[in-house]
Subunit: 346 residues, 4 copies
């Protein structure tokens, strides 16, 4: 593995340290996923405790890793840190071939103030990461303004093109109140952006990877789990890097087929109910199953169908125990039927 | 281990199944913690998949476990389920001696509608559990009213006497929207009630313990972790059950000493700053340390002290690297100084 | 879950306690795997600490579990304990339907003296378990004779029909020397019986599941891992119990196809080299690959092929990087070629 | 972290790559533990798959790591690889100060042929590592001679000064037979050298860290656990590296106090029984407890005391339930009594 530090801006002490592992040769893949690490320190410093120890965790998992030491307040103000981030991303993309990086699989992780920068990257940057990990991030006005007035509050900028986020914090954080994370989650939920979140009972602020040699205070014994958990989460989004290259991502499991040109069992019930009579007839086994369940549980059938309308009909058929072979047959038949999107608006 | 099912209300099909393990004899303890399991099912049924598999997880961890099958809509309406809960708790307390249960360590876990019941137990019940685990709980008006109109929305009833809560859900839950969990967390944060929360990227609704033989849909591979995580969290609150009895709880770590009769390094900075000049002089090494950090990071010292005012001075002295022996000396000296609570209001 | 204690022999205090969980109904399977627990105690007692806590671990994992309290020395001598075991197995098989037990998936776990009984079950019993877990087992003459003279030493009875074994012990065991486990492993290796083994640095004797509430001495923090590890190992042998029934076992991965009627890439290199010229020609890409590797690494090619002769040719082709599609083609072609077993003896 | 490759012998392609992390500054310690990685490849090559991925695992855990690419057969023969090892160790010790390495905490890990080299380092080298991790090591004559005739068979050289060892292998290894690991374990057991061992059901040969991006064949899902398990084992021997430096090692727990100048409850029963009458009288509560247990379990008391003679009397007193306070009192009293070592020989 090579370690290389590239000076981005000498006067502002902005550097990008790259840890580049091999590909090909004895390894059966040509490209790796990448992780850009944004340390914290209140925009007053870039903490070493949130730099290499973090990079090493992702290097071990097969990532090419990069630590960005961005502009701190004494050297310059916002939006310089975000510009440093954009520059780092451009450099990684430009060198993707030489550095064996899969351009579509560049994630970022940030801590505290670096978590703010990372949340800005996820929401307002030009070069958004493919996934963002926010560790005890500063999000809300109170704490952001304390660091440096004039910066964006990322929860207010979550939109359709925000990348999937993974949030980590401790409930007893007395530096960055836990509401910072909760309000960011609410914004992501509101816009339907995939996220995962682990809020630990205690851990305070600044635990980094929470390994014994990194953490300075006592924390719930579950806190170090966030690192492997985040790696598992990235596997769902990027696919897993195996000896022979990437597996397929499986986050798609939670997407439905409502907007595809033909119908399928991956359509939502809500959408299917707006289709032709022919479709409804085909799905009689499902409707029968729903009726049985509704009666058994004392539910009104219409109300029940409204309540589960966002489920795919595959999920519903499995729950009401339509025969597995029948589901396969129904899926095939649906593939021959045009998806009447206009009906949906009607 | 004995398994016993007690009929609480024959007509309403309300039963309490008790799984009672041994104490004393070859075991060096006399009392165990207890867990009351509240299965889900939309208040229309009590799901077997959220009953015994859950009880077994806590039995294995040393708990006495109890499954309550409460009144469902076809047999009676709210507040009957809550009354069933109160009755179950009374029965456990009454039999605490015979069942080797530590009365102060009775927790409850509920799923979906059972999660709603559990959240009501945590907030509005007379016999509150000592800790509550809420798994994809129904909290908000929309879903609660669908199950059965007229029930409380637990997030609106969080108060000072709400017990610590552990929340588990999947972001892609299409039956009970993830906002149910998020709004409950916000209410807990608002009132300062300790909580922990794990929201998984996908898992849908109804995964129970997420063990392969229990779960019916595919889920993020991290989902089954909530069970051991909840057991670890309970150890922080209850202490760990060891061969010789319970260890000390360590959730206290996150409490401060502001209300004790004498001062200590467990007091918050905010509180200490309101004490006598003598106290301030004693703490010169801390203030010097803060000054150095503030200057190094370009912070205004007063602003910084406001921002970290809720930290204990022990935490702050450790961060600014006051010598460990000096901290011990300061703690001793503080013990001889009266805590001027009235100053606090001034 | 029902708990039932069946008296097998009143005078000898022999009992079988059964913990029977549900099947069908809300669960999509009809049969579960089973685990028979044989506690230890020097054949002088059956320890409670190695009974229910162990059963609960496997119940939680979906098993029907059974605790056998067998004949101890003061009530009768060997082979009575083994006869108790046989009787317990007959009873489980007889009740397999009613108890939702898959007869082909009954495992046994034994501790110390119970580990000796379990190792006898695995080697000399009529009703062998499908898999045996031996925890700090007594195996060798010295310790067996101390417990009760006249019992078999199981390592001397390992044969072709011995079931797969999973061994657990601590190196610093001062009651049953670690050589007991090592000599059993050597015997299993000698006969080619699949096994797995975890020997921990320290843990002494009698740690049972090593959960905090069960273990009486301090142990390496890895010791409790043997329980989930053994469950993972059983999944390889039995298949995993899922909501819809068992998955396929995958221990078969390590078996080869040398005795099948037609050839395949699952045959060993040693076996393939004894086949026709036509077969050798088909496998030219493999031989070319081996030659390249041998030359690159400075090995004699014949010696190398002898050394890796027990590998399947699929494994070898993957290692020497024969194209994946070519492997599929070769496999198909081999299926059309008769396996000349007689050649092998030639 | 700096990455630096030092050429030890240019003609023989011998290099040492060092990955050096920071100490002091934001970290509260001055020295780290170190790990020297010895890749495998039949002494014909040094595999990249067993080099950096392994180093990264220990770097992440806080170690300074080093990869030695030693002399391979085409460049020179044994004992050159061992000489390369000695040279690497000398270099690390010489640079200990500059590289922030604790000289007493340098471990080595080797794979296959590198496992042979590592086992030689542990047994016959001048600069032995403080702990050795042997992964599917070549130990026995058959495989060693295949690699290169004339090398030592390490199991034949285990002695009093052999360092603690951690062994990892798969039972279905068809390149290096599992007996290689088992015979090494037997030799360690024979000489009383502390060891730990994990033999997995299947995994074949060459799985390295068994991470998805490193391993080329399918393996038991438990195989990747050996890496964190080995780190936990090293913590027992070295103490854990924390933010403030190393904790105390706790492998000492399994040592007894038979050779100390005064007596203590950490002496073995066997040793204590050879002491004065006064000592025996002091220990009456223990002997009473043993008698009760022996009678309850139907054991002969003398035989029982012989059988557990290697246990410390603390362990025995805990098992027979001597009061904890009494044990403390007894320990204090024993501290005042000379340890009569000569009695022991009598």
């Amino acid at each position: 593995m090579r370690a290389e530090t590239i000076v981005l801006h000498e006067k502002r002490d902005v550097t990008l340290t790259a840890y580049i592992q091999e590909a090909e040769g004895e390894f059966g893949f040509t490209k790796r996923p990448a992780m850009l690490v944004l340390p914290g320190g209140g925009y007053a410093m870039c903490s070493d405790r949130e730099a290499d120890p973090v990079a090493l965790a992702y290097s071990k998992a097969g990532f090419q890793t990069f630590v960005l030491r961005y502009t701190v307040t004494s050297k310059g103000k916002w939006p310089l840190p975000l510009e440093d981030y954009e520059e780092a991303m451009e450099l990684i993309v430009k060198n993707a071939e030489a550095w064996h990086v899969d351009q579509d699989k560049i994630a970022a992780v940030g801590f505290s103030a670096g978590g703010h920068l990372c949340a800005c990257a996820a929401t307002v940057a030009e070069h958004k990461p493919a996934a963002a990990i926010l560790v005890y991030p500063a999000i809300l006005k109170e704490i952001c303004d304390l660091c440096q007035p004039g910066m964006p509050y990322p929860n207010e900028h979550v939109g359709k093109d925000t990348c999937p986020c993974f949030l980590v914090a401790a409930r007893d954080d007395r530096t960055v109140d836990i509401k910072n994370s909760l309000m960011m989650e609410l914004a992501l939920a509101e816009k339907g952006i995939p996220f995962e979140s682990h809020i630990y009972s205690y851990g305070g602020h600044g635990f980094s990877t929470a390994e014994q040699w990194v953490v300075t205070n006592s924390v719930s014994e579950r806190v170090p789990d966030w690192v492997p958990d985040s790696i598992g989460w990235l596997k769902e989004i990027f696919g897993a890097l195996t000896y022979k290259g990437f597996t397929e991502p499986n986050i798609a499991v939670s997407k439905n087929g409502d907007t595809a040109p033909v119908l399928a069992v991956s359509c939502s019930l809500k959408h299917i109910r707006k289709q032709s009579e022919e479709v409804q007839t085909l799905l009689k086994p499902m409707y029968d199953g729903i009726r049985i369940v509704a009666e058994a549980r004392g539910f009104d059938m219409e109300k029940l169908m409204d309540a589960v309308g966002n489920n795919t009909i595959r999920e519903i058929m499995e729950i009401v125990q339509v025969d597995a072979d029948a589901i396969v047959e129904i899926d095939k038949a649906l593939h021959g039927m045009v998806n009447r999107l206009e009906e949906r608006k009607g």
